[in-house]
């Protein structure tokens, strides 16, 4: 997640010369006790969750001594606040606050520039401050080429009615804040409140830093597990999905759950969009039909078939859904048959029993729809494919109809079988998987259709058997795009000699836990 916790954000401030309260983060009441003892002063306890207004939710409390701190923290750990379970508590010295300020940096999309904001009134959200105290708030657009100069910071602070030594202290902090924002690619950075203590020190009493999702790769030091903007911690399934995305740069795979445990009484469906706008439009169409989404998913930007396959497998790891809906913009530039093959492999492996409506409009949609109808006619659930001239609303209506006709089947998650590499099969690695060809079976093959299906020219015939035509390293680097065409041809038209193994780390265990907990 690209949001940092308060304690992490503060650590970054401290490392860059901004004062923060003395303290540490704790994971148990015992740790709270030890940290409080070390501080040796009255204590502030703050739950670590990505929610503003923690005080009003009872998530910030004060203690006079270590024993009291420990007792209070016992109620904190495991407490549920909105979508969060509290796992960490920040234990800090209680500050003697004389005055509160607000300092923040955001990126303004209209001016296309970082905007630093300071207010000599703190406490509440900046929107309320702006409304109630318009003269106490000051803003400055920063030139990235010039940087943020100390004199600019001083002018900024002066406009809010602050002067003298305090002006100097605060403006220095603002300059440092900008440096922190740049250094960690902050999408936003907020210190609310920045406080003046009765000892006349200016201290960052709270801090929230959100790192730009796209820049997380520059910051391994931050230990960000999943670079996504959510309003809650990532679920296990989301983490599995994110691993898939991170390990495969081709196209985008975006997945999150709208509900972690859909129940079978309500009309939850698995949702698989393509393209941001198309996905949202399709989502609106199914919601208008009275469906609920178990998840939101988007595979786009020309993803290979293997990525769409993995997305479908992850979506089908959610129990109790009653339908599968896939739809994009309808007029995609990408060749749509790649996605179609991904669906064929996933639905066949799962022997999908619920109905699915797949809208694959765009380039080569006729071929894509044909792939779906040819290869998915024998699975339990009905699968219908549509193209650019069928609206999302129409497709949502079709799904509704199929669910009614099929008697409202409820999806059950299947266990994933342990994978054993077939012995003495011819094999080679691809970017994210491995292809096995059982040459013994190839003897009976009449068409050798796999060679023709491989439009990337990775396979050739040698002694009437398919083998690699190019350097295996080139194949592993991505010359084989994992289009799945050879496997599907061989599985449906020939000897079932080709198998493409596309592992999804953690999914087998995830499903096992899911099935165990159900029993």
């Amino acid at each position: 997640m690209a949001r940092l916790y308060e304690y992490q954000s503060k650590e970054l401030l401290k490392n860059n010369g901004i004062k923060i309260p003395q303290g540490k983060v704790a994971s148990s009441p015992e740790e709270v006790y030890l940290i409080a003892k070390e501080i040796g002063k009255p204590i502030a306890l703050k739950i670590q969750v990505w929610i503003t207004g923690r005080a009003d939710l009872g998530g910030i409390k004060f203690a006079q001594n270590p024993e009291e701190a420990r007792e209070i923290s016992k109620k904190f750990f495991g407490m549920k606040v909105k979508n969060f379970i509290v796992e960490k508590v920040l234990v800090e010295e209680k500050l003697n606050i004389e005055k509160e300020f607000f300092a923040g940096l955001i990126i303004d999309d209209a001016k296309k520039s970082p905007l630093i904001i300071f207010s000599s009134v703190g406490g509440t959200g900046i929107e309320e401050i702006a409304k109630e105290h318009p003269t106490k708030i000051s803003k400055h657009y920063i030139s990235l080429l010039k940087g943020f100069k100390p004199y600019e910071a001083r002018n900024l602070v002066r406009k809010t009615g602050v002067s003298g030594k305090l002006l100097l202290k605060i403006s220095n902090i603002l300059v440092q804040l900008y440096k922190v924002a740049i250094k960690y690619d902050a999408r936003s950075l907020e210190v609310n409140p920045l406080v003046l203590t009765s000892e006349q020190e200016v201290i960052a009493a709270d801090c929230h830093l959100v790192v730009d999702d796209y820049a997380v790769f520059r910051h391994p030091e931050l230990g960000i597990e999943i670079a996504r903007e959510f309003d809650r911690p990532a679920t296990e399934l989301e983490k599995i999905a994110y691993q898939v995305e991170e390990k495969d740069y081709r196209g985008t795979f975006y997945f999150f759950q709208m509900i972690e445990k859909p129940n079978s009484k309500e009309n939850y469906i698995g949702f698989h969009g393509a393209g941001g706008g198309g996905s949202m439009m399709s989502m609106d169409a199914v919601l208008n039909r009275g469906f609920k989404l178990a998840n939101y998913c988007d595979t786009s930007g020309n993803p290979p078939a293997s990525k769409v396959y993995r997305a479908a497998k992850i979506i089908l790891s959610q129990p109790n859904i009653i339908g599968y809906f896939a739809s994009g913009s309808g007029v995609a530039s990408q060749e749509q048959f790649h996605s179609a093959r991904g669906f064929v492999k996933a639905f066949t492996e799962e022997n999908l029993s619920i109905p699915a409506v797949i809208r694959l409009g765009g380039n080569y949609e006729e071929k894509a729809i044909e792939i779906l109808s040819t290869y998915l006619k024998n699975i339990l659930g009905s699968v219908e494919g549509y193209g650019r001239d069928d609206s999302p609303d129409f497709c949502a209506k079709r799904l509704n109809k199929l669910i009614e006709e099929g008697g409202r089947i409820i999806h059950k998650v299947n266990p994933i079988k342990e994978f054993h590499e077939p012995e003495d099969a011819y094999s080679f690695e691809t970017l994210t998987g491995k292809i096995f060809i059982d040459h013994k079976k190839c003897v009976k093959c009449k068409t050798k259709g796999c060679i023709e299906e491989c439009v990337y020219g990775v396979l050739k015939l040698e002694n009437s058997k398919p083998v690699l035509s190019i350097d295996p390293m080139e194949v592993k680097k991505g010359r084989c795009t994992e289009c799945l065409a050879c496997e599907i041809f061989c599985q449906f038209h020939e000897q079932k000699a080709i198998y493409i193994h596309l592992p999804i780390p953690g999914l087998k265990e995830y499903r096992e836990t899911l099935l165990r907990n159900k029993e």
Binding site: I107, D109, A110, K112, S113, P114, G125, E127, S143, L144, L145, I182, D185, R187, D212, D213, Y214, A215, R218, R228, E229, F230, D231, Y249, T252, Y254, F256, G273, A274, G275, G276, G277, G278, S279, M280, M281, M283, D284, L287, Y296, D298, S300, G301, N302, G328, S329, G330, V331, A332, S333, Q334, E335, G362, N363, R388, D389, S391, P392, D393, G478
Partner: protein, 299 residues
Amino acid sequence: MAILVNEKTRVLIQGITGREGRTRTKLMKEYGTNVVAGVTPGKGGDEVFGIPVFDTIEEAWEKKGPFDASVIFVPAPLVKDAALEAIENGIKLLVLIPDRVPIYDVLEIVQYANEKNAKFVGPNTLGLLSPGKAILGMIGGRAETARQWFKPGFVGVCSRSGGITSAISYYLTQKGLGQSTIVHVGGDPIIGLSLPEIIKLFEEDEHTKLIVMFGEIGTTQEERVADLIEKGEITKPIIAFIGGKAAKSGTRFSHAGAIIEGSRGSYESKVKRLKEAGVHIVDTFMDISKKALEISRNL
């Protein structure tokens, strides 16, 4: 009869030898775009579909220049360098195709572009297309389908979603309404030419009579369009559809720009502002082309 790009635009392609670069060069060239040269550092001397490849833009310019536009296909972490190279060399229009370009890199590109009076579309864009003239990017996928889906005409199309850009234009074509230029502005929170800036160009273009816009939750682009209309800077009729009605606050829906922050950028606030300004808001996507037909009858 078009904005930003036409058949005369002299185009350079950066990252021409990569997987996407190669495929989309084929599309652009076959469609009729005037692709003059390509650049991939380390691949100087190669050719891609008959287009010469150079190691640097400076060299490409010496031998094949001038260039009016550059389409960039390099990996996201290298986009900033590629864009600055193009701007430094005097190219005035850039199209940044890649997804996942860090936001501060984009902000820096913005400042360099402003200094040199250059414009850019993207990042995270399918690009733009002037029907019958040229493509910058990858809209249409193949030249054959691009010719079939998009026809010359008087509707200016701009959208924050790539697939939707094509979809709107295709459905307009189905109704017999051609397009002047279609622009995917990109799905990111910070982009070069945003919806209001594109719409201003459509306003100035004498052949564009009607504007269709696809907006979505997040950012202030749609609100700024409303501001421009109220200031009288935009007078042509606009039809808009806003995606993300069902999206909840604080969670990102695919596009990095599609996130509601606080009360800003919500579906309701955008629709309200646009309606106040007199924009024709349609509730379902399929109504866009119907409404366009209705309005164009009275133009």
